[in-house]
């Protein structure tokens, strides 16, 4: 298991390196970039040239890349030019990552909390009204663009009904102490209940919007895998033992049916990150997704580079975690994987 983990981590490193080179070369070959970002419409051809030289952007790409790697090794990934101009990209990541993580966790929790029971019920009542309804709604859930859903949710529940705040992570007037960067957690840690509650309220709508796709996937996978599992021979064996139905459901059906769901959760992190770009934009939620959207809009290359790399890294890492946790849940892999 350890070797396997190390191996995967090394692979991750390679992926990140290759990706960084590709991204770097690509970004550098594009027009615009830091110079335009820093100078804006005040720029003249002359000042442009000066700045280009000052920043070393006229050097060969690979020299620039090596310099970049050199700096990156010291934790310096460059300074934002558009998202939060002046802040270092690393700082932006550190600030915003907890926000997106908090949001994604809540979204996944919602997706699982709704998707799994619904998937189970739909499978058990296959072909029934509940089944058909939830299947259709999960299909619609996939077909509705996330940003549109986010928009509707916000318009209805925040703007029109006023139940939730419309934007951001925390209301302006709340004087919260920051400890971990996870606002809800911070609120709980410092016992600033109002801050925690307020932060949670800010999370709910975006999390629901973000949960729409993982929900559909979790629901359908749960349903399909429950359908598979209930037909498995070992469930029949369990029935033949005369076990009570809760025991069969818990121990024999769900435990096995959850295995594919666990894998999907890992894959969903990708969808979540992508969804976060859209949702955070709509809810002006200062997370990674918003930074990415702004970064694209404002051509903030250092931030884009770091965030895309981190997104890829996190995605790969979470999949590794999922695979490892899979091994923990599934003894077939656990007992064989250990060496």
């Amino acid at each position: 298991m350890l070797r396997y983990t190390i191996r995967r981590l090394l692979q991750l490193l390679v992926v990140v390196l290759v990706l960084s080179l590709l991204l770097f070369a690509w970004l550098r070959s594009l027009p615009g970039g830091p110079v335009s970002a820093l100078l804006g419409e005040r720029a003249t051809a002359e000042t442009r040239e000066r700045l280009t030289e000052e920043l070393g952007l006229n050097e060969p790409i690979f020299v620039q890349y090596l310099k970049f790697v050199g700096r990156a090794l010291t934790g310096d990934f460059g300074v934002s030019t558009g998202v939060q101009p002046g802040d270092s990209a690393a700082e932006i990541f550190v600030q915003r990552f907890p926000a997106t993580l908090e949001l994604s966790i809540l979204a996944i929790v919602i997706a699982l909390a709704v998707g799994i029971p619904l998937g189970y019920l739909a499978a058990r009542r296959r072909g029934g009204i509940l089944d058909n309804l939830s299947v259709v709604s999960s299909l619609i859930g996939v077909a509705v663009p996330v940003f549109f859903l986010a928009f509707l949710l916000k318009q209805v529940f925040a703007v029109d009904l006023g139940w939730f705040p419309t934007a951001g992570r925390q209301a302006g007037g709340i004087d919260a102490t920051r400890v971990t960067g996870f606002f809800v957690l911070d609120g709980l840690l410092t016992q600033e209940w109002d801050a925690a509650w307020d932060a949670l309220r800010h999370l709910i709508l975006p999390a629901i919007a973000l949960a729409s796709i993982p929900f559909s996937v979790v629901f359908r996978i749960t349903r399909a895998s429950v359908l598979d599992v209930v037909d498995e021979d070992y469930v029949r064996t369990a029935e033949s033992k005369g076990l009570t139905s809760p025991v069969i459901r818990r121990r024999h059906v769900m435990r096995n049916a959850m295995l594919p769901v666990v894998t999907t959760i890992g894959l969903q992190t990708g969808a979540l990150l992508a969804g976060a770009v859209l949702t955070e934009k709509v809810f002006a939620f200062p997370g990674i997704g918003q930074a990415l959207a702004l970064g694209f809009e404002r051509r903030d290359y250092p931030v884009l580079l770091l965030l895309i790399l981190c997104a890829a890294g996190v995605f790969v890492l979470i999949n590794l975690l999922v695979d490892l946790s899979y091994a923990v849940i599934d003894p077939r892999i656990r007992t064989r994987g250990v060496r």
Binding site: D233, Y234, K241, V247, H252, N256, R332
Partner: protein, 336 residues
């Protein structure tokens, strides 16, 4: 009174948008305590469905079960789900064909054995674990204590099947149904398992329904044999009689088509023509008619009824208009 009396058991499957299929079509047989009854027949003839219907394990939706299956005087088919759960595992045990897929892959063998003990014998975890180790030992699994903590994939095929048998026998059921328990196993392992089953049945006076397509297995184990074809019993007899004088052309064909280890070499096999796919429904005549070398016009005009065979001695039931003449008997006896 027999321990299990199955009368006119029929199972019909309905699938949305498709014709419903009659998988079991009026099967009747009895099982006495301590007796081993065989159900043989080709793939798809309804053996498993029969056993599942008795165990109440067919899905409620999509399957209609009619007829009666009385266990010790209690009608099983009309028992409530709850009552049935109380019986399964305690009075009725079952062993399935594929030992790997029949064990839950993510739960330790130990838990899979103890859960049935906890459920029906009200034992605590600890007691159940001790009992479970004894059980595994009894079915011939070496080092049972360690095996309890292992998972199915860590056991070999034979050991898995033993574990399944241990589970089925945990609460000393009065009736054990074994659905092709050895088909997935190698011959040497099959022999071990069959010997084990025979021994356990003898020891505990458990009644055993042995389901198989292997006539050899039946020949070695069963007191009485039911031959199924397309959902109906076509011939029933004690095993000695059956193998000596097969009366139904199907039984006869089966026996003639398998190569025997002890038969002289060079003899050509005489196969049954066609395949199971050539069955016709029982409604219009005999389902076996298209493949039957003995078929006469009557075979496709009227459905044959199960009748007591008058020609040979012994209790033989037969569903055929034109059975194989016992003349073959003399021939067979000469050969053996």
């Amino acid at each position: 009174m027999a321990l299990l009396e199955v009368r006119d058991l029929s199972v019909t499957f309905h699938r949305r948008g498709e014709k419903s299929t009659v998988a079991v079509d009026g099967v009747s047989f009895d099982v006495e305590p301590g007796q081993t009854v065989g159900l043989v027949g080709e793939s798809g003839c309804g053996k498993s469905v029969t056993s599942l219907a008795i165990m109440g394990l067919l899905a409620k939706r999509g399957a209609t079960v009619s007829g009666s299956a009385k266990f010790d005087g209690t009608e099983l088919l009309t028992l409530s789900d709850r009552q049935m759960r109380d019986r399964r595992g305690r009075d009725l045990g079952m062993v399935f064909q594929d030992p790997l897929s029949s064990l839950n892959p993510v739960i330790s063998i130990g838990l899979q054995v103890t859960e049935v003990l906890e459920r029906h014998r009200g034992l605590s975890r600890k007691q159940a674990a001790v009992e479970a180790a004894e059980l595994l030992d009894k079915v011939g699994i070496p080092d049972p204590k360690r095996r309890l903590t292992e998972y199915p994939h860590q056991l070999s095929g034979g050991m898995r099947q033993r574990a399944l048998i241990a589970i089925a026998l945990a609460c000393r059921p009065r009736l054990l149904i074994a659905d092709e328990p050895t088909t997935a196993l190698d011959v040497t392992i099959q022999a071990q398992i069959l010997a084990l089953l025979a021994e356990l049945v003898r020891e505990t006076e458990t009644a055993l329904i042995m389901i198989t397509h292997d006539l050899g297995v039946v020949a070695g184990l069963c007191d009485e044999v039911n031959v199924l074809y397309a959902g109906r019993v076509v011939e029933r007899s004690g095993r000695h009689d059956l193998f000596r004088v097969p009366r139904h052309p199907y039984t006869h064909g089966l026996l003639a088509s398998i190569p025997r280890l002890d038969a002289p070499k060079g003899e050509r096999l005489s196969p049954i023509r066609g395949s199971v796919a050539d069955n016709i429904p029982w409604t219009g005549g005999c389902a076996f008619a298209p493949r039957c070398p003995h078929a006469v016009d009557r075979c496709v005009e009227t459905t044959p009824e199960m009748v007591v065979d008058q020609v040979v001695e012994g209790d033989r039931l037969l569903r055929c208009h034109n059975p194989v003449e016992p003349a073959g008997r003399a021939e067979q006896e000469m050969l053996s």
